[in-house]
Symmetry: C2
Subunit: 238 residues, 2 copies
């Protein structure tokens, strides 16, 4: 990376971010993105700037999903000009792929699984997305001992048969609700994107997703905090 860098975490849910915010003692800059609902937290680590952007709230709940993630990412890149965007958050994993609850994975690719647009190859290619991820992701995962997987994004917590078909045909492994939207916006600016994802539920366990998600959210968020501590140390030492 560059000598002095700005790292920008983009996190959808406050519950996912809270252990991270406490660990790194990042301070909120109230109203930084107003009138957008996104919230900025930041601190200095040596000569580096560590920023965290939450999507914020509307209608009484955290703004999850691809539209809020698109807005937060565009605003973050415009205002913070990060050298690296990191999307950390929870995801669904597949036990058939060896995932366990609270495992942390680094993304090695990213796609959408719920944008079904037929037609010629160009439409299908665009609908899937398959945006680039940061070229340093593989070395980071290897050096820190994290597994890797392909992030696959949709706007719903559940997984319908049409979603599973696209996930299987295209090798999706880490099912989330924001990753590809963030990567899409990063692709427009050629801003590198790194995914740090922790498993809250197993898509192929037969268990009810929302129950599993709720039960495991705290543990996965703590695992994310510990993983991000190592990720940030690694990035700063590079």
């Amino acid at each position: 990376m560059v000598n002095t860098m700005t790292i920008c975490y983009i996190i959808a849910m406050e519950a996912e971010a809270q252990p991270f915010i406490e660990e790194f003692d990042v301070q909120e800059v109230p109203g930084f993105f107003a009138p957008l609902p996104c919230r900025l937290f930041e601190t200095q680590i040596g000569e580096h700037r560590l920023t965290v952007v939450l999507n914020g709230k509307q209608h009484g709940s955290d703004l999850v999903g691809c539209e809020a993630a698109s807005v937060a990412t565009l605003a973050a890149i415009q205002r913070l000009q990060p050298d690296l965007v990191i999307n950390c958050g929870t995801c669904g994993g597949f036990k058939s792929e060896g995932a366990h609850i609270a495992d942390v994975f680094i993304g090695n690719a990213v796609m959408f699984h719920d944008r079904r647009v037929p037609g010629d190859d160009a439409w299908g290619t665009q609908a899937l997305g398959n945006y680039p991820v940061w070229e340093g992701a593989k070395a980071l995962a290897k050096d820190l001992g994290f597994g890797m997987g392909k992030v696959t994004t949709g706007s719903s917590l559940d997984m319908q048969p049409c979603d599973l078909q696209i996930i299987q045909e295209n090798g999706g492994q880490l099912k989330d609700m924001e990753g590809a939207a963030i990567a899409f916006v990063c692709s427009l600016f050629s801003t590198p994107i790194l995914f740090v994802k922790s498993v809250t539920d197993l898509c192929d366990s037969g268990a009810e997703t929302f129950e599993e998600f709720s039960k495991n959210l705290a543990a996965a968020s703590l695992a994310l905090r510990d993983a991000n501590k190592r990720v940030i140390e690694y990035l700063i030492k590079k």
Copy 2:
């Protein structure tokens, strides 16, 4: 409206916009949104500014869908500060609701149908969206003789059973791929949004959506041009 107003059309596909661009002789301002792929076209009509923002292209095709619409709308509001955003484009209609190919409707409400998030009421409310539309939409539709309907947005051209269930339970009538994303971003700025939608396909006809869409795109785009001519005259005279 205000004495001197800026109207901003947001249109996903170049084919949808072309007859409109020719009719109003709007001129492109190259690179206005760079490095974003969105494209600005504009003209003056008397003391009013008429602008058209296209999502632009990536991966060799027009950027359709909710992420590109979120980006285009945020960039448009930031840079143009429109008094009124108008999303015009094609949609799927329901013959059970009396829709015919190339009919033009004005939106009286807007929701998402493919963001399935269970949990308490706040999550469900946010997932559906149900963002406000411009308070003058009803009078405009009445004065110009347009029918009205509820815009319902998803990221796919097809309609799965899970989509239809949410559409039916929540009164969706005009099925598109961008409307609610645009309305979401407008809601963050309290910018009024008007929907002008023309039917390319009937979701309940049994016909293959992509074939119907392709066959009727030109006719629907011409119908949109004619409708927008009347809409703009109406707005300017107000």
